[in-house]
């Protein structure tokens, strides 16, 4: 039974629906025909890095190659260069717990965890290599080496290492004939030892290991078939020397060691530009700090050659082939602030002398060079702002040249990889395809100058996102405002005029009716707003504004499969830094989105076009700790909260009316109120909450901004009412004690800072994520716990748990608690002698229950609907299953009867018997078969129709969005409803009536006439 769509919901109907929504119901599932219609997914890899992206042939005999990359977010994957689709992808990062198997002191764990986070974000190198002609690729990121099957992406082996990988190289072998290639991995161990391991490419076992316990910084490893070179930095920070250790390929024995160059030549790690590998004459190249000279050394020799770099060079890159059989040529790509140039050098194999072969002209733009080798031939592809130029390493003659056509969006390549094919037959015919990363954070394949596909890889690394309504026409808003301000007669005349003016749209509207009716009857999915940004009556058509850590902003059209409506670079973020967005707010009335960053930066833009209205670039220092959306006498504002929770003085009309809850300098929680003083208001701390000594705040959850409550009580089976404790000024705070592993969950009143309730959980693993979510009158917390039961210590519980707590005004039904029927509630700031006594603080009656989940969950979020009638779901990302589950509130219900079947009244209420284990039902996974990687946050927004909640998930890697209807689509006709049948039936009946009416009339007259007298 489905009520008609868009039915006006009266108050009475509301209660009826509330009953309906809470009835026990079959499991939710995503139907096949909804896939791709209600949900969308951007399967992303992350921004490819120059060093870890290449074309590679996964099968020796097959000429088809795939594009492999290990991105800046640590995803290794293969892309079909023809279509741009992901063939496979894997998370290259292995979590420390899975590597080290837990253990260790709590303190050490925590430090390691932090170090891990830092390293993951920036410090560690990412390496991806493939052996020529081999069917595998090998990646290293963090503390492990991982080999993958090149065609399927299946794991071949992985080797955990006790240290951070500094370099990875595939080594060409000579001793066991062609075809055998091994992996060299350079590790910097915890104690400062440099370890080079040769791993068998078959199964990852160690062939030999070379260890050196010095304080040197291991940098890179290189081979030239006969020898292995380990390049490291020796000396003190700021004045390093390059040290090259020469090792034997067969045994790993050290043959020689030499220090290259003059004393204190190298300033830091980043000055060493390049160490070639798998070349007949591998080189190491470095520059001075000012980027004026380039120093080159052919590995294995002591000589150092110097070349002057062009003036004003800001960055230098070196491009060289990675094949032994290729000519030992390399290209130096130097960038100035406005342009770029290239110089090609040759290495003489006999004398080991490096000579400059030719130079390429200075062209504007950053430019991108890439290398491709085919046997001994080495080709350089240069992508400038308007051209793709193919050069040979031998001479400066241009082999081919194509104008760059990237479609309507102007984009210039930052770095690229390319594949050059020399066509047989015609002597001078070449085909080039280059996969370039553009300055708009896109990954674009350029085939002979034309853009074949573009992948929006910049959408990875999302830091903030919000739903925004599509702005209504400004004219309308303005006219309405005008009407409101003029006298009634004028307003009436104005309105009549406006309606007459609107008549011009009538024919178009009338014309559109048949198509709309037909599409509605046939069930075809002709979107009435195809290509246009226009609100729809169901409220599904919204925009999402997404900000990424690289400083890009995206506008996504939620109703049209997450199509990118616009993309803008907010600020150029320097490499290695992140844009730290602290607050994002969409003003639905004006259609503007305000984004505040941590470094005093602000950007205001139009949500439908992405036009930047106001922008202030980030300053050097991080000044903002958080933001708060506050009500002031001049309207709603997003205000900054400085470090240590200080806001500072504000003018009276911009001072918040509410208490602002924020973190203090010591990590404590505090409430801030503003006290007016003349024309300005100064802040005053109204309360402070410091967790007890030894406890550390790990997570804080508050009620969502839109948290509609349909009913203030829960109706029990016997028609009595349990009144919900609905205090909007509450938050849930989880604090853990790292020594005792006790997690304490506090419920705080945010006006008075009073603790309303607290619960302790034993044996909680502090290294695993602890998260809470809150809505209406309940909250959930999830953590990993292991403890013995209190009543039966022989029985232990271990697993990912979810504790759900309901808050009621009183334990008794039909009782509104201490406040009784008072119409208002207030949180007293007065000190209390006995805080637990009645009459002091209105404390809720808490009912809690713990469940053990079958999988870890993170990024908890609660669905929200327009009026709050629909049942709730807890949305959670499954980091191990790569999906988003919607856990129904009916399952996570603290009042489920324990140890007995529910009584008839309880069953009527929808309570099931308590089962401690909650299996995550595949039907409840809203991402169904999609593989959604790296979700960090989920945002929800209500639609206009009550049944539906819009969901958007973003984070490190993927973008996913869908609509969920936790109580089914009770206010919309589903796709299964056959309007054709309905209309057909009505038409058939009408036809029947029209046809039969004369017959019946005739018969009736005849009957009258033939009536017996």
């Amino acid at each position: 039974m489905r009520p008609p769509h868009n039915a006006p919901l009266t108050r009475l109907l509301t209660t009826a629906l509330a009953l309906l929504a809470h009835l026990p119901r079959p499991a939710q599932a995503v139907f096949r025909d909804e896939v791709g219609h209600t949900d969308y997914h951007h399967q992303l890899l992350g921004l490819p890095l120059r060093e870890t992206t290449f074309f590679h042939r996964p099968r020796r005999d097959d000429r088809a190659s795939l594009l492999y990359t290990l991105s800046d977010v640590g995803v290794v994957g293969a892309v079909n260069p023809g279509s741009g689709e992901v063939v496979w992808r894997q998370d290259a990062y292995l979590s420390p717990s899975s590597l080290l198997g837990g253990g260790g002191g709590a303190k050490g764990e925590e430090e390691r965890e932090e170090e891990e986070e830092e390293g993951k974000e920036a410090g560690w190198g990412r390496f991806l290599r493939a052996g020529e002609g081999e069917g595998w690729v090998v990646s290293a990121f963090g503390r492990a080496v991982h080999a993958w099957d090149a065609v399927s992406g299946r794991s071949r082996f992985w080797v955990p290492l006790d240290g951070v990988v500094r370099d990875l190289e595939v080594m060409e072998m000579t001793e066991s004939g062609p075809g055998r290639k091994d992996v060299l991995v350079l590790v910097e161990e915890r104690g400062g030892a440099s370890v080079l391991k040769r791993l068998s490419a078959e199964d990852g076992c160690v062939v030999w290991e070379w260890r050196e316990l010095t304080r040197d910084l291991p940098l890179q490893v290189s081979t030239n078939v006969e020898k292995v070179f380990v390049v490291s930095l020796k000396g003190a920070p700021g004045a390093y020397n390059l040290k090259v250790s020469v090792l034997d390929t067969l045994t790993g024995r050290k043959l020689d060691e030499m220090v290259v160059g003059a004393k204190a030549d190298v300033h830091g790690k980043e000055d060493v530009m390049f160490v070639g590998a798998n070349s007949a004459a591998p080189i190491v190249a470095w520059t001075d700090d000012a980027r004026t000279t380039l120093r080159v050394n052919v590995l294995g020799t002591k000589a150092r050659q110097e070349f002057a770099l062009p003036a004003d060079t800001v960055a230098v890159e070196i491009h060289a082939p990675h094949l032994v059989q290729s000519d030992p040529h390399f290209l130096v790509h130097s960038r100035t602030a406005t342009g770029h140039r290239g110089e090609v050098f040759h290495v003489d194999l006999k004398t080991n002398a490096v000579s400059k072969a030719y130079a390429l002209p200075l062209l504007p733009g950053p430019g991108a060079f890439s290398t491709s080798s085919n046997g001994a031939n080495v080709y350089f592809t240069r992508i400038t702002d308007d051209e793709v130029i193919l050069l040979s390493s031998q001479s400066h003659g241009v082999l081919a040249r194509w104008p760059l056509k990237t479609g309507d969006s102007k984009a210039s390549a930052v770095h690229a990889v390319s594949e050059v094919i020399k066509r047989a037959g015609a002597e001078d015919s070449y085909a080039v395809r280059a996969a370039a990363v553009t300055d708009a954070d896109d990954w674009m394949l350029i085939r002979n100058g034309e853009a074949a596909w573009t992948r929006p890889e910049g959408m990875t690394g999302g830091v903030a996102a919000t739903f925004a309504e599509i702005p209504e026409s400004e004219d309308l808003a303005r006219s309405l405002e005008q009407e409101a301000h003029s006298n009634p007669l004028e307003a009436y005349i104005h309105r009549v005029k406006r309606h007459i003016h609107d008549l011009q749209y009538l024919p178009a509207w009338l014309n559109a009716i048949p198509a709309r009716v037909m599409s509605s009857i046939l069930g075809t999915d002709v979107r009435s707003t195809a290509g246009k940004l226009e609100r729809d009556s169901f409220g599904f058509h919204k925009l999402v504004v997404l900000a990424t850590r690289r400083g890009m902003l995206y506008g996504l059209d939620v109703a049209n499969n997450g199509r990118i409506v616009w993309k803008k670079r907010a600020f150029p973020i320097p490499k290695g830094r992140n844009w730290d967005v602290k607050g994002i707010q969409a003003h639905d009335s004006t259609g503007q989105v305000t984004i505040l960053g941590s470094n005093d930066d602000v950007i205001v833009l139009q949500s439908d076009t992405g036009d930047i209205i106001e922008a202030k670039a980030p300053s050097r220092d991080a000044t903002t700790q958080a933001t708060a959306l506050v009500d002031t006498s001049s309207g709603q504002h997003l205000i900054r909260i400085g470090r240590g929770g200080k806001i500072g003085e504000l003018p009276v009309d911009r001072a918040p009316r509410q208490t602002v809850v924020t973190r203090g300098a010591e990590g404590e929680l505090k409430g801030i109120v503003f006290v007016p003083n003349g024309n300005s208001s100064y802040e005053s701390v109204s309360w402070t909450f410091s967790p007890p000594k030894g406890q550390r705040i790990v997570h804080i959850a508050t009620r969502p901004a839109h948290d509609a409550v349909a009913s203030i009580g829960r109706v029990l089976g016997d028609r009595r009412v349990k009144y919900k404790y609905l205090n909007p000024n509450t938050l849930v705070l989880a604090a853990i004690n790292d020594e005792t592993h006790v997690l304490t969950v506090y419920l705080l009143d945010t006006v008075s800072g009073q603790v309303l309730s607290a619960a302790k959980h034993d044996g909680v693993d502090s290294t695993k994520p602890i998260e809470c979510a809150m809505a209406e009158n309940w909250f959930v917390c999830t953590f990993f716990g292991q403890y013995a039961l209190h009543d039966n210590s022989a029985q232990a519980v271990k697993g990912y748990q979810m504790v759900v707590s309901d808050l009621y005004e009183s334990d008794e039904p039909n009782n509104r608690g201490p406040l009784g029927s008072a119409a208002t509630a207030s949180s007293s700031l007065e000190p209390l002698d006995v805080p637990t006594a009645d009459g002091g603080v209105v404390r809720p009656a808490v009912v809690s229950q713990a469940y053990i989940l079958s999988a870890p969950v993170s990024a908890l979020q609660v669905t929200t609907t327009r009026q709050g009638i629909t049942a709730r779901q807890v949305l959670a990302y499954l980091p191990e299953a790569h999906g988003i589950a919607g856990l129904p509130r009916v399952v996570l219900e603290p009042r489920r009867p324990v140890g007995r079947d529910p009584t008839a009244a309880e069953a009527e209420e929808g309570l099931l018997r308590y089962q401690p284990a909650v299996e995550i039902d595949p039907k409840s996974v809203v991402t169904h078969e999609r593989d959604v990687l790296g979700v960090r946050r989920i945002v929800t927004a209500p639609a206009v129709v009550e049944s539906t909640c819009l969901v958007f998930a973003y984070g490190l890697v993927d973008i996913f969005g869908t609509r969920v209807a936790p109580s089914f689509l009770f206010d919309i006709l589903g796709k299964g409803f056959s309007k054709a049948t309905l209309v057909g039936t009505v038409l058939a009946l009408l036809g029947g009536v029209l046809l039969l009416a004369p017959v019946v009339r005739r018969k009736q007259i005849n009957m009258r006439w033939q009536a017996p007298m």
């Binding site: 708060a628 924020t662 508050t702 009913s711 029990l716 028609r719 009595r720 609905l726 909007p728 207030s826």
Partner: protein, 186 residues
């Protein structure tokens, strides 16, 4: 037939018949009239057979008693059908179905209509003499209808349609207004 002769315009036969239906045809003599038919009465009355002596017409007092008795029967009528109704109501269950809804409708409609039509129901039994007694009967009748109505109310209550519990008034209870507000800035 004479009308036809004097009519200035000759009407067709059917029109004339429509205007003046033909007189009842005289039955053939061979078929006797059924006993008690008006045509036969004169023959019977004049018949030579000896019939029972004519019944003495009842006196007004007797008539009043008789009428009162009848009136009591009518008054107690509703209570007689109650057990049946109760069983049917019990059997029909407490769910909202077309059958139980109809039953409830009837359970309410009949008593109320009965009460409204009390005077009509006893009009024919009412005489000058038994007016006072009939009033008692009427009262009894109303009480019986109310009992029937009570059965309907019981049914409605057991169906949960009466707003007797706290939950029925929940929608009219207001959420408490909170005087202070706080915003998170975490």
């Amino acid at each position: 037939m004479s009308a036809l002769a004097t009519a200035p315009v000759a009407l067709p036969a059917w029109a004339a018949e429509l205007k003046n239906p033909p007189a009842h045809k005289l039955k053939p003599d061979s078929i006797p009239d059924p006993p008690g038919s008006p045509w036969a009465s004169s023959q019977i009355s004049t018949g030579s057979k000896v019939t029972a002596p004519p019944r003495k017409p009842p006196t007004p007092a007797e008539m009043d008693t008789l009428k009162l008795k009848k009136a009591w029967e009518v008054a107690l009528g509703p209570i007689k059908s109650l057990p049946m109704t109760a069983i049917m109501m019990y059997m029909s269950g407490n769910s909202l179905q077309i059958f139980s809804i109809m039953m409830v409708y009837m359970a309410f409609k009949n008593p109320i209509m009965g009460i409204l039509a009390t005077n009509q129901a006893f009009e024919r039994f009412e005489t000058e003499g038994n007016r006072a007694k009939i009033l008692q009967v009427k009262l009894a009748y109303v009480v019986m209808q109310l009992v029937a109505l009570a059965l309907g109310v019981w049914k409605v209550n057991s169906m949960g349609l009466l707003p007797t519990t706290r939950s029925d008034w929940l929608a009219w209870e207001a959420q408490r207004d909170v005087l202070e507000h706080a915003v998170p800035g975490l």
